[in-house]
Symmetry: C5
Subunit: 363 residues, 5 copies
């Protein structure tokens, strides 16, 4: 059996940065995503029940200063491709190098790591941009006693609602600790999953309509694309359920009992999203089945047209062929109404065939 070898040379220019990391010792801080060359900027929100203060471009040492009791700090690092800055940040907050590695490694799957001084977590932020395109943004959240450090790839995020609630004096979030902010951010991330998954669902419903009413050659391809999207969403979203569950179960004093009550709510949403994803997956598999069945129906229709045309006209042509023969003695040819008789015969055959196909339900 002559097997066909599929040779794939990984060309250097297409080489994902991931492979460049190969052979590097663990703990190497290296951004491997596609949003390179961005300078990291800082956004800081300092808030307590009484007041809110927003700072842009603060100095790093200012960020790790001791806070007055009741005050919380939300430090937002935007742009994580500047490895030097990240290293500096790590020193300031006394972060483990393995943690920094995960914080900027966009291939890192969702995880949560607990340390004595902080809880570290990595997620994927999923949202639709202005063009309704899915954006996948790497996100690291680090919860300290009285501050939350956020590292995100882009300026866009899903946290505007949380920001508003902090700016608004009456928001419950103002009078609670950093762990509540940490939860609120996770909650916002999980909420965005709901939206993204519903968006996928709407695409599936559109495709379902297309399959049913007007399947085209590339419909099958669209179905495969949506199937892959659902699989990818599952990969990013599924582990989050387990992580939130672990946050609820943790005995780490950084997470208060009150906040755990709210985390239970986020867990419910995670389960809901995962259940829906599972259903959408089955729906997209059914779509392909449906498409194949429609193709089969169409083929049936094509074959019926061919069969009807051929079955009617081939016998008639044969009859015409007979009386087109040039034998010297063919008595019918001399009959006065022979021609009309043959036309009548043909008509009779035509009617019989039509009735037959009608009965078969092919017409």
């Amino acid at each position: 059996m002559a097997k066909k070898k599929i040779q794939v040379k990984i060309k250097n220019k297409h080489l994902p940065r991931m492979f460049k990391k190969k052979g590097k010792p663990p703990g190497t801080i290296m951004y491997v995503g596609q949003r390179e060359g961005m300078t990291s900027t800082l956004q800081v929100l300092e808030y307590s029940h009484e007041e809110v203060k927003e700072e842009v471009h603060p100095t790093l040492d200012h960020l790790s200063r001791k806070l007055e009791p009741g005050k919380n700090l939300w430090i937002d690092v935007i742009g994580i491709s500047d490895e030097g800055f990240i290293e500096q940040l790590g020193k300031e907050f006394k972060l483990n190098s393995l943690i920094l590695e995960d914080a900027v490694n966009t291939h890192q799957r969702p995880k949560i790591d607990e340390y004595e001084e902080y809880i570290f977590s990595v997620f994927k932020m999923l949202y639709l941009n202005a063009d309704q395109q899915l954006v996948v943004e790497h996100l690291a959240l680090i919860l300290f006693q009285d501050r939350v450090l956020v590292l995100q790839e882009l300026k866009e995020d899903v946290f505007n609602g949380v920001r508003e609630r902090i700016r608004n004096k009456s928001g419950r979030i103002r009078s609670r600790g950093a762990d509540y902010l940490f939860f609120a951010l996770i909650d916002a991330v999980v909420d965005s999953y709901l939206e993204v998954v519903e968006h996928a669902f709407q695409k599936i419903e559109l495709l379902e309509e297309e399959v049913y009413n007007n399947p085209k050659h590339d419909t099958a391809h669209s179905i495969q694309e949506i199937k892959k999207e659902v699989i990818r969403l599952h990969k990013w979203i599924f582990p989050v359920k387990e992580l939130v569950h672990r946050l609820i179960e943790t005995e780490n004093p950084l997470v208060t009992k009150d906040t755990k009550l709210f985390l239970r709510d986020a867990l419910d949403h995670c389960i809901e999203v995962n259940e829906n994803l599972q259903i959408y997956r089955e729906m997209s598999i059914s779509l392909m089945e449906m498409y194949m069945s429609n193709m089969s129906n169409k083929m049936n229709e094509v074959m019926k047209v061919l069969t009807i045309m051929a079955s009617i006209f081939i016998p008639l042509t044969f009859i015409a062929g007979i009386y087109g023969m040039n034998f010297n003695r063919m008595p019918e040819l001399q009959w006065e109404y022979g021609y009309y008789a043959v036309l009548g015969l043909m008509l009779a055959i035509l009617i019989i065939m039509l009735v037959y196909f009608k009965r078969k339900g092919w017409l």
Copy 2:
């Protein structure tokens, strides 16, 4: 590979209310279902072994009053889209805001939460309305020491049997506590699952008959619809099994040992429903297979008709064509019985072909 992008703009007017909730803090009481704008009304049944009293439109503070021993209260809130009223209710019964949120959030999956003062549970009530259409109604049940608070979306429900049993003096339910009422309501919900699932089964059986006897173009679509319905039923019904199990295992004093014995019965029904759903799911998958196999059989039949017609008449036409040629010297044309000989030859070929197809089993 030019991939086709499926662009889906979520238009504002089609925006489910669910998305409006995005960015709101947790604990926000917001009805997100489609039965908006209904005023909440109250129905109250106060009963003891001796007497039953029905109240409509009582005041809220009356509902949370202290009861004489042996008396139970069934408070039924119909219509949950009036968030103001729900909030008031929550205050009266000292309910957590997260609970109120779940009680009116129609996207909430079935859950059970135990607190010191009450047990809170959310279910989906599934039943067939007068038009035999499936109705999915969000339902929250809250068990207190001596009363059960029910929140339901519509006036229709599956609790009429329970109401009758309370009104009837001899009913066991009259002499038992609120936890028995709580169980009786859950039991009624689970019983309605049985009915709804059997209804789905009857649709599957009808479809099976249609597939077998008279598959039509949209039969495949109906099969996919029933498959989706079974998946959806599974989503609503499956978690209930676990919830009832947890009620049996609970050490909460609100649920007495006696009632747990009955809950075991409800658990049996849950398992039964889930097993049946699983079987119906496999049956609906088989249906699609069956449909495809029937389509294939039909195609075979179409192809056979075409092949028989073409295989018989094409050679005959060819023979007629030969004697329609205009060569000067074609001795057969001059033969006296040439024409009849050719007709005989054609008849012979026809018979041979028919015998051949008969043997093939195509006729």
Copy 3:
């Protein structure tokens, strides 16, 4: 997308009795099977190592009398649709109303419930009747200290072997307690599963032969029927494994250690039956695949016949058509051997085509 609504009105006359039970309080004794209107009759076997006594139609109070040590009672209630009698029976043996409900509820799935005074279990008895039709009979077994109460729907059962062993003085069963009888009955039920499952297997093998040698239009339907039968058998048989396992693990003094040793044997059989069912299920799925592949092969054959006939005769007919044209100047027509030359050409084409198809492997 205009969806087709499948409307199913559950008509009253077809309403299974199960639905009539809806709204009834739990513990309502109600037979919901299809073998209604039978009077319950009693068969009693009283035996000890020394003697056996068979009674028919004893009075109920006689059944619950105290027995001499070493004596066991096997009480067989045949016909369970007479709810009044069942209620009486329940009172006599002090049985819980929930148990009586399960004993006559033919929709009850296999279960085992342990109480202080007795162990209650429900099974399905599966056997082939004289016409080799599968009979599904609801069966309840209740083990007391020195007697076993059996409730069965029909006079037919799978216990004749056990009866013979009791009547036979040398049988081990005579010198053992009621728990051994309980086990022997369960063992007989499990043995009958083996037979029924093997019967299904033989049907699968027959179908396999049919698919391979002579697939017909309704073969697909038979395959689906056998698939459904295997699924249904699985539903009835699968839970029994767990039940027997629980009997082995129980610490209830009603079941002696000796009998548990034998139960282990019955457990082995349960596992065996379930494994076989699993294999037969996969075989029935393969059958459908096989059938589709055969259909596909048949279609291929049909298409080949059509293609061969058309490919040979269409070009020949075309040639005949050419020389049937009426142009004034067609030199070939005047050639002395033109006709024979054309016939030769046609023969050559025929041979070339045949060789071509032979090489393709189509002939």
Copy 4:
């Protein structure tokens, strides 16, 4: 829907002996396999580090005699259909009747039972005979303190390697206890699984080649056969993994810690065999897919030939038909080069069609 009833009468002559056992009490020693009527013969190997002694046809009481320390006995019973002999054997070794039942019951699935005096296990021995046919042989191994009792159906087995190692003075097995022999026999059985599974793999590879190069009508059938073989192998081999694991975990003093170290090795092989079986199963499923895809490809090819022939010659025949019409006034017929013009037109059409099909990639 007129359902087709598949009636299967189990005829007496085809009745497997298994059914004859129905109704018999548990513990009935009855051989139910197909190798009936064989006299049981005995082969005994007595060995210590110093010497080996082989006995054939020893008396039974000699087998259960007390051995000198350091001596081990391997007692091999060949032929297990002689129930009387087995019963005698059981008495001599004080074996439980349930154990004897399992030892000769060829339907018994692999199991291990620990008793105080001995460990009893049942396996399937799988090997290829001289004709490369798979032989399935029932095997029971019973480990005592200083002897191993083996019951096998046939003289052929997979233990010749072990026998050689015992006869060979330098073999480690000579200086170890009976438990090491017990392990060595299990190891030999597991090794034979490896061989049988690899043999199945080679059949799959041959079929794969057949599917790829030359799929025939019965290739689908062969694929189904191999799928069934893999399922059957799985049934026999899969439980062994668990059994070996239990031997490793046992606290029974009959199995020494040293031997457990070796058992771990056998466990590795079991896992390996099961993993491979799983892979071969998936490969055989892929084979069917591949076969269907090839059938589909072939159909495509057939259709292309038909379409090309018909699409080229039907239009040409039509043109010839036009000039075969007998109208009085058809000016082309009078043209001097009319005939040649038409031939040229036909040639042009032919070329256009060929170019079209070439572009479509159908030629």
Copy 5:
């Protein structure tokens, strides 16, 4: 049913060495791979924070010498088919014979075994060679207190990065113990899995493009090949996750807490690789579906061409046939413009048919 027997004689020359091992006692050191006849060579790296020393071809006893504190030894044995050498090595390091057996048994699945003096592990090293072909190399790693013994089949490996880091004075690896080296080697192996799996992914993407744009006859075969490759990768890679997890959980003092922190990182990568493999598996299954759907589309296209050509020209030919009949009285033939009328009629039919097919969407 005449079943086709697939006879497979395992010929001696093709007999894998694996079968030669059959019947050998456990603990037999035997290389069963395909890289036979290689002499084993040694490469040794001795390093401490201060210095690095590389030795080639040292004597064996030198390798097991006592080291100064702070020094570590990396002993690399290249070529494992020389059983004599391996046995010597085992004696020098006091290794169990079962361990040596696994170290050279290329059929051994990934495993980890802990002993008091050392931790033994077997992996598969997977990498792409210069020709981008997948190389599967058996690898055994043995961790002692202050040295790591590596056994590999070929000179090529994935450890060059680790070697560089040791040679480089500033590398963290220099100042850490042998357990860190052990981890670094495992990490390098796991990293190579990432690369190999991504390579498989690229092949899948290429095939996806081929399926979508230009499916060929052997595309189906390539898809099956990639499916098998993914299954094989899964077999080699999947168990590693569990092994790394066990290393993290071990209480063996050979693995320090610091190193476990890094192992957690390697575990993350293992999970990532396995998740990706799972996704690629589903993608390759979808590929086959896609291919079948494209085949079906192509068939549809072929059928449409045939149907259009036949449906247009068969009726036209019939009309021509009518006027080719030789009846004496056919008035149309005498009409002056009969010919043109017929041509007009034909044109009208042609147009009607084209419009019909256009509307059907077949043109």
